[in-house]
Symmetry: C2
Subunit: 205 residues, 2 copies
C-alpha cells in the first residue's frame, strides 16, 4: 500500500527536522522532501509548530519506549538489564543516530513541554533496575556510587559516540564501517566497564 499524503509529510518532516532542527527547517524543505504541495502541510497539520510537536513526541517515544520495559523486568538481574539496554540502544542508534542530538538541542533552545509528559522520575526511581541497584549496594555486592553517576555513565558511554560522531570521524580517518564495528564492540565492552566500575576494589591513585 502506497503511503498516504499525511504519511509522506510526516516522514519527510522527520527526516528534515532530525537533520536540521526546528529553526533551520523551512516548510518548503519539508514539502519538497515529501514531494507534495506546500499548502498540504497546513491542510493536514495546521502549522509547522504542530507538525514539529508530533515529530518530537514520536522521536522521544521511539527512543524510550523500546528500552523502558527492560528496566521494569522482574526476570532479569541487574547486569543482564545493562547488557540488554546497551545492545538495544546501540542497535537503535545505528539506524537513527540523529535522534539524541535532535532532542537535546531542541531541549536546549526551549524547555519542551512534551518532556514533562515523559515520567522520567517515576521511570528511573520506581524501576526494578533501581531497586536491584540499591539492594545490591545494601548487600555490599556493589560499590556505593550515586545512581546519577551510573545513569550518566551508562548514557554517556552508549550515546556520546553517536553524538560526537563527526568529531571522531575527523580525529582518525574513521570510515562508516569502522565506526559500526566499534559500536558492535561497545555492546560487549560497556557492560564490562560498568561492571568494573561498580564491583572492583578502588585502587590508590
Amino acid at each position: 500500500m502506497p503511503p498516504t499524503t499525511e504519511e509522506k509529510i510526516k516522514s519527510a518532516a522527520r527526516t528534515v527536522f532530525h537533520s536540521k532542527g526546528f529553526a533551520a527547517t523551512k516548510t518548503r524543505d519539508i514539502a519538497k522532501e515529501a514531494g507534495i504541495n506546500l499548502a498540504l502541510l497546513n491542510y493536514y497539520f495546521r502549522s509547522k509548530e504542530k507538525l514539529f510537536q508530533i515529530i518530537m513526541m514520536d522521536s522521544i517515544h521511539s527512543l524510550f519506549q523500546s528500552i523502558l520495559p527492560i528496566f521494569f523486568e522482574e526476570e532479569t538481574n541487574f547486569f543482564e538489564k545493562i547488557e540488554k539496554f546497551v545492545s538495544l540502544y546501540i542497535e537503535k542508534l545505528k539506524t537513527d543516530p540523529e535522534i539524541p542530538l535532535f532532542i537535546l538541542s531542541e531541549l536546549q533552545r526551549n524547555p519542551l513541554v512534551i518532556l514533562e509528559q515523559v515520567p522520567f522520575k517515576e521511570i528511573f526511581e520506581t524501576s526494578v533496575f533501581h531497586k536491584q541497584y540499591e539492594s545490591a549496594i545494601e548487600k555490599k555486592e556493589l560499590n556505593s556510587i550515586s545512581y546519577y553517576h551510573l545513569l550518566m555513565n551508562l548514557a554517556g558511554l552508549t550515546v556520546f559516540p553517536f553524538i560526537g560522531k563527526p568529531i571522531f570521524f575527523q580525529v582518525g580517518n574513521l570510515t562508516s564501517e569502522e565506526f559500526h564495528r566499534l559500536m558492535e564492540e561497545r555492546k560487549k565492552w560497556i557492560p564490562i566497564w560498568i561492571k568494573q566500575m561498580l564491583t572492583n576494589e578502588l585502587q590508590a591513585s
Copy 2:
C-alpha cells in the same frame, strides 16, 4: 575600560548563538542583547554568517586550546594526563556548559569548514598521550583496547552529563547545586573508572 561596540556585539552574539544556535538566532536578538542599533552588526561584522564564523572559531578554540597542551606534556605520565584533562574540562564546562552542544549541533546541520582547520588527527595521533598509551599496551601494562574506545569513553564520561543536563534534571529533581557537586565528584571518579577499564582483569560475564 568599558567594552567597545564591537566587543558588545561579539559578546552578545556568543550568548545568543550558544543558547539558540545559528538558525534560531535573529540579528535583532543579538542587537537587542548587545543594546546596540541593528545596523551596527553589519557595520562591524558584514553579515550574520561572518559573525557566526567568528563565534564558532572562538568557541572551538576555547574548548580545545586549554586541553591540548596537556596531551603533549613530556613530564606527566599517562594517568596524570587523564586526571588533568578531566579536572580542567569539567571546570571549563561548569562555566560554559553549552559549548559542546552548540558545536555538535551546528556540526550536524552542516559540515563546518572551520573544523577542518583543527588538526584533530595530528593532535590525537602524534600526542605524547597517544604514544604513552601505545607503549603501555605494548608493555602489557594496559589492556589492549582501541584508542578510539578510550577517547570515546573519556569524552562521553566527561562531556555527556553537561549535554544531557536537562534530561538528568528531569530524572530526579536535581538542583543546580547537586549537579555541580556531582560534577566535582566526577573529577575524581572518571580517572579511576578509566584506570579500572584499562588495567583490571576482565571477568567472565
